[in-house]
C-alpha cells in the first residue's frame, strides 16, 4: 500500500463521475453515482474520517441514492424517452466545464507545490471526537437543521401527495 492508493481511488472517482453524467440511461447513472459515492467513502477512510465514511455509506448510498432509484423506477423513465441535448450543447457544456476546472484550479493556485496532507491526530474523524464538537460548538446549527429537515418533510408531503383537483 502506498500513496498510489489515493491516486487510484481518485482515478476511479473521476471515471465513475464521468460515467454518471454520460450514461444514457438514468438508471445507469444512478448506479454509477452509487459507485462514485463508494469511492468517496474510500477517500473518507483514507482520511481517517470514519464517521463520515459511515454516514456517507448509509445516508448517501443507502438512503438518498435508493430514493433516486425508487423515484426513477416509479416514474418508469425509459432509456431515451426524451431526446438528449444536441452534440453542440454537449460540446459547449464540456468545454465550459473544462474552463471551470482551469479557472478554479488557476484561481486557487492548485498546481503549485503544497505541503503534504498529514494526519495530526488519529482521533480527528472519530465519532467520539465529532460528537463532542457537534453537541458543544455546533449545537445550534445541529438543532436548527432539524427545522430544515422538518420543513423538507412537510414540503415533500405537501407536494408529492396526490390531490384531487377541485372544480
Amino acid at each position: 500500500m502506498s500513496i498510489s492508493l489515493f491516486y487510484f481511488v481518485a482515478f476511479l472517482s473521476i471515471f465513475f463521475a464521468l460515467l454518471v453524467i454520460f450514461a444514457k440511461n438514468p438508471v445507469h447513472s444512478v448506479l454509477y453515482l452509487i459507485v462514485t459515492f463508494f469511492t468517496f467513502t474510500v477517500h473518507y477512510i483514507l482520511l481517517n474520517a470514519q464517521f463520515l465514511a459511515i454516514v456517507n455509506f448509509i445516508v448517501y448510498m443507502g438512503a438518498i441514492m435508493v430514493l433516486f432509484l425508487f423515484v426513477l423506477m416509479l416514474l418508469n423513465l425509459n432509456e431515451g424517452s426524451m431526446g438528449s441535448k444536441s452534440n453542440l450543447i454537449k460540446m459547449i457544456g464540456v468545454i465550459a466545464g473544462m474552463c471551470l476546472i482551469i479557472t478554479l484550479v488557476g484561481s486557487a493556485r492548485v498546481l503549485t507545490a503544497s505541503e503534504p496532507l498529514v494526519l495530526q491526530t488519529q482521533e480527528l474523524g472519530l465519532v467520539k471526537n465529532l460528537g463532542k464538537v457537534l453537541f458543544s460548538k455546533f449545537l445550534l446549527p445541529f438543532e436548527v437543521s432539524s427545522i430544515l429537515l422538518l420543513s423538507a418533510m412537510v414540503g415533500a408531503v405537501l407536494l408529492a401527495k396526490k390531490e384531487i383537483k377541485r372544480a
Binding site: N48, L100, K137
Partner: protein, 109 residues
Amino acid sequence: MENITQAIQGVPLNHYILLCTIIFSIGVIGVLIRRNAIVIFMSVELMLNAVNLLLTAFSVQHNDPSGQVFVFFIMALAAAEVAVGLAIIVMIFRNTNSTDVNILNKLKW
C-alpha cells in the same frame, strides 16, 4: 485501519483540491448537458460530494473537526433537498408525464 490511513500521509493537499475541483466540474458539466431533471439533480449531488470531500481534506489538514461537522450538515441538507426536489419532480411528472427540463418553458420573456 491504521495502515490504510498511513497510505494517505504525504499526498499533497493540492491534489485533493484538484480532485475535488474536477469532480465538482464534472457535476457542473452534468448539469449543463443533461435534460433529465433527475440526472441534473444527481449531478448536483456530485458537486456537493466534491465539496464534502474537500472539506474533509481541509479538516484533516487543519486538524480541526468542524470541517467534518460541516460535512454532516451538508449531508442533512442533501437529504432535505432530495426529499423536496424529488417531490417537485414527481409533482411535475404527474402534470406533464416527463422530467425533461426543456419542456418547461412556459415562463419566458
